[in-house]
Structure formats: structure tokens, C-alpha cells
Subunit: 167 residues, 2 copies
DNA sequence: TCATTATAGTTAGCTAGCTAACTAATTGCA
DNA sequence: TGCAATTAGTTAGCTAGCTAACTATAATGA
């Protein structure tokens, strides 16, 4: 993820505008600020999760498993839900298994599949993390009042609808 | 970067709210949507840059070098500006050098330092990419009118000011 | 002066993403 | 029925981050 600390200043932008006349300074700053704030927050979240020996990838796998009634799922489904490749999911599950947070169960009618289940240790890990997470999230998002929060969502969804433009 | 495809639906959120009473559904959705739209756009940008054999890391190094009057800088400065470690910068410069987009110049009074300079090939690479980039960025950000764009920035900066909460 | 401290760059080894290629198992259809 | 196509999971090898440790050089201060 983009992580530029020094956004271009006025002088630099002027230089670039000269070389590349299509540049629109406001738009560039809005876009870069958007990516930058998001990556800063994402890194902060990782730092927070790191204090519980988790990172976003592993944390999400645990959360996806907790959604299920029997606290278990299959890797390919998890991969789709998490938006990562099956290969990546193999790695995430390996790490979680090594730490004792999930277990692999081969009990299945389809012998290509394996099931992944959150262990008791995995559940108590989440029970430690989540209250702290929700309290911090509450503080964070309280910078917006109700109207601002809704407007923020509207703007985000408008931007999202245009993501094909870079493809 | 967080990349969850399936944001929690109402039923799942209800289940979580039961287990973790501090959860505030609107806030969770706003936060996750924010990270998700940003990571989608970041991935789209990478796809776009990939069509020019670049990725964000390398692209930013080239841009940082183009800011300089003599098109050159030193790795440690580049690392600070790009917000990556010196080790990561070594790797980025290696890749760029292998592709002939930058060169390393050891000409220096401080023999610990080396200078990195954009080559003519690197400059023409950017001259290919940037007009296309600015045109697409223009289309993307045109979903916002002037007022919306300014409001978006205000909201982003408010959120940014709270990033310490997860640390 | 010269020993300590700080800085620059690299290397090694980690996480976490990717694609492509592989094995095993299942499904589907001629 | 049996072969082809599909699916599930893993592995190998890539990019791009990180920290920690290392070498070389420069700066500092007793």
C-alpha cells in the first residue's frame, strides 16, 4: 500500500504541472491524502493487533470463522471471503495453526476439502482483542457526528463506483 | 492492507454485537468501507502501473527523483520521503537499476553515501505513464464536485488526526 | 588524538500478498 | 462406464514490506 510520507508541496506540484499539463493539483492531493490516511490507519490497526500477536490477515480469518455457527469453514471459502488467493489462505491457516488458534479437521465427505476450526484458544484470543478494538474504533469514529458519518459513506461509495477507471 | 470482500451482513453483526456489546454497527461499516475502498483503489492503481511494468514502490521512487533539480538523491533520504525502511529502499533501487530506470553513482564526498539518479529511460518511462495517470485520476475524482472534494478532504484530515487511537 | 557514537548501505530472515504449476479427488458428460 | 474438466489444497518462486545485525565511514568529545 502506498505510503508516501512527503506529499508534494506547491513548488513540486508546479514543476510537475509544467511537465505534465493534465495534472490537477487539488485532485492529486485528495487522492494521495485518501490513500495515505487509509494506509496510516491500516498500519495503526496492525500495530494494535500486533500487541495481541495478531495481524490483519490472521485476525480476519478468526473473525470469519467466528461468524459460523460451528466456528469452522473451509479454506477456499475463507479465501473468497477474505479476498485473498487460496495459496495465501494456506499460509495464514498454517500460521494460525502453529500458534494453536485454529485446527485443521480432515473429517469430510469431500476428501479434497479440509475444515478449519477456531480453537478455544482462538476464541479467547478474540474475546481479548475485540472489546478493546470496538472501544478504540468507537473513539476513532466519534470524530464524525451522525451526519458527517453518513456523508463520509456516501462519498466513499461514489469513489468506489469509479474504481474501474484505473483498470 | 485489509482486503475483506464480504463485509459483515446484518445477521452477523447482530451475532457479534451480542458477544461484544461495545460494537457499534454504523461505525464498523464506515471504518471497514473506508479501508476497503482505499485498498481496492490502491490495487487498481497497481494494476494500472503494472501495465507499464511499474508498481507503486518503484513509481514513487522515480517521482521522488524527478522532483530534484539534478534528478538524483541518496537512498536514505528517499527512504524517509517514501516512508519505507532503508532496507526496503535498497530493494526498490536494485529493481529499478536492474530495469535500467535508475543508476547508482558513487561520486560523493561522504563515502558512506551513494547517489541514485533517474536515467533517460526512467524519465521517458514516467513521461509515458504520467499523462495517462493524470487523465484517469481526473476522471476518477470528477465524481466529486468542488464542494464535495473539499468536504472529503476535511473528513479525511479529521480521521487522520485520530490515528493515534490504535497505537 | 583516538575511542565512542552515529550514520549509510547492505544482507539475512521474517510476514503476507501474488501467479503458476502440481496432486488428488470429484463431477459431468458422451 | 470411463475419460475430461473442474475443484481443493499445497508448493515454489516472485514482489514488497519489516527488523536486526553487519561493515564501512564520519563525527564527536574527553
Amino acid at each position: 500500500m502506498l505510503q508516501v510520507k512527503e506529499l508534494p508541496d506547491a513548488e513540486v506540484l508546479k514543476k510537475f504541472t509544467k511537465r505534465y499539463p493534465d495534472a490537477n493539483i487539488e485532485q492529486v492531493l485528495q487522492f494521495l491524502t485518501f490513500l495515505r490516511v487509509a494506509s496510516d490507519l491500516s498500519n495503526s490497526l496492525d500495530q494494535f493487533l500486533g500487541s495481541y500477536d495478531l495481524l490483519q490477515g490472521r485476525w480476519w480469518v478468526l473473525l470469519l470463522l467466528m461468524r459460523e455457527d460451528d466456528f469452522s469453514s473451509v479454506p477456499s471459502t475463507l479465501a473468497k471471503q477474505a479476498g485473498v488467493s487460496r495459496a495465501t489462505m494456506t499460509g495464514l491457516v498454517n500460521g494460525l495453526q502453529r500458534d494453536g488458534l485454529v485446527s485443521r479437521v480432515t473429517d469430510s465427505h469431500d476428501r479434497r476439502q479440509s475444515r478449519v476450526r477456531v480453537t478455544a484458544k482462538g476464541q479467547s484470543k478474540l474475546d481479548e482483542v475485540m472489546p478493546d478494538y470496538y472501544q478504540r474504533l468507537n473513539k476513532l469514529m466519534s470524530v464524525f457526528d451522525k451526519e458527517q458519518g453518513e456523508h463520509f459513506m456516501t462519498l466513499l461509495l461514489a469513489l468506489k463506483s469509479q474504481r474501474h477507471i484505473f483498470e
